[in-house]
Point group: C2
């Protein structure tokens, strides 16, 4: 196996290092975050950093880098407190990735990449109409990661829209049935297939599949 130390990593060319270190954590979720400015300009941006924080209350988080196109998303959320999380499917990964281009503030990525927006319930922020799983969130808080200036944005889940047929009796949503995409590194998109679900693990029992 190849072994790189922290000194080796630090001396890599910066783009090579970014591709490499972006890859090492494993597969990441593929979500489009929808938002809108106080003046009504809608925005859509691909994120691979949406994480589960807790179920009671239902909380999600995502990471914002210090200086990127994602700032439109951040500014909008600060103005309106609302954002949406829309599951990316494998058949529109190209459109999803295209949202990472540096469009001007007054251009909506929905229109630019060809994804239809829709407004649901009381949420001010736009959803991706074709997404099979859509979440409305209200901004709760943010934590600045002092080590590199990233921000962890915390959102409270206010609404979830999903296809009923993918839900198991125990509440689980089998997203493989809706062709959910995943992300490796910063630019690789994957499809996923279910292998097994497992029962709650106990120290003295052989693990069973569900």
């Amino acid at each position: 196996m190849r072994h790189l130390t922290s000194d080796d990593i630090q001396s890599l060319p910066s783009r090579f290092r970014a591709q490499f270190i972006n890859s090492i954590t494993g597969v990441k979720s593929a979500n489009l975050i929808g938002s809108v400015s106080a003046r009504g300009n809608t925005n859509l941006a691909i994120f691979s950093s949406v994480v589960h924080l807790g179920s009671n209350p239902a909380l999600l988080g995502f990471l914002l880098r210090p200086t990127t196109v994602e700032r439109h998303t951040f500014n909008n959320i600060k103005e309106t407190s609302a954002f949406t999380i829309n599951q990316v499917q494998t058949h529109f990964i190209d459109k999803a990735h295209q949202t990472s281009a540096k469009y001007n503030h007054n251009i909506s990525e929905f229109e630019a990449v060809g994804l239809e927006e829709e407004f649901l319930s009381d949420c001010k922020a736009p959803f991706v109409k074709s997404a099979p799983l859509k979440i409305a969130c209200r901004y709760k808080n943010e934590y600045v990661i002092e080590e590199n200036g990233c921000r962890l944005i915390i959102g409270e889940v206010t609404d979830v829209f999903y296809q009923k047929q993918i839900q198991s009796k125990d509440g689980f949503l089998d997203l493989t049935q809706t062709d959910t995409a995943g992300i490796l590194g910063s630019d690789a998109y994957v499809k996923i297939d279910l292998l097994h679900r497992y029962e709650y693990a106990q120290p003295d029992q052989v693990l069973k599949t569900k």
Copy 2:
């Protein structure tokens, strides 16, 4: 589509809600975190919350829930400052999931589930010998998420061990070539397959695959 509001979610039975809300963020990474107490007891625990924080310096994070078996991992990291992140492959997802059982503090999950430990470089914490991608980290900081008592643990990458043949010329590691696993919800394991890598997106250009 089914629509649940925050009131609907709040009124779900707690296990159903946990399965549901754990599912909605999309696919998650599958990593085993290795650690060791000051007295030398090794520990191994499955985590689906390892996230990329930055490449310069190389920083990772993972989330710890307030009260779970993961506390052994947390206590060990506080004692030794070292931990390892080991990529789960599809052929040992059963052993990986079994580490989530509540073993006593003096029992090593390595032995209990049948994964061989190894020590590499200067890292005090144990690695999973068979993992095709292994990362050594040094504890840097932690952020308590006030909203629910979770902690975001920040680690600095000190060493990376990986199979050279999965690395592209630009630094990217194609983890689909090492049968990396992913996680949906809290107990579902998936395999992943590469669809496309994309070039850097530009506003006025048609997106190209790499």
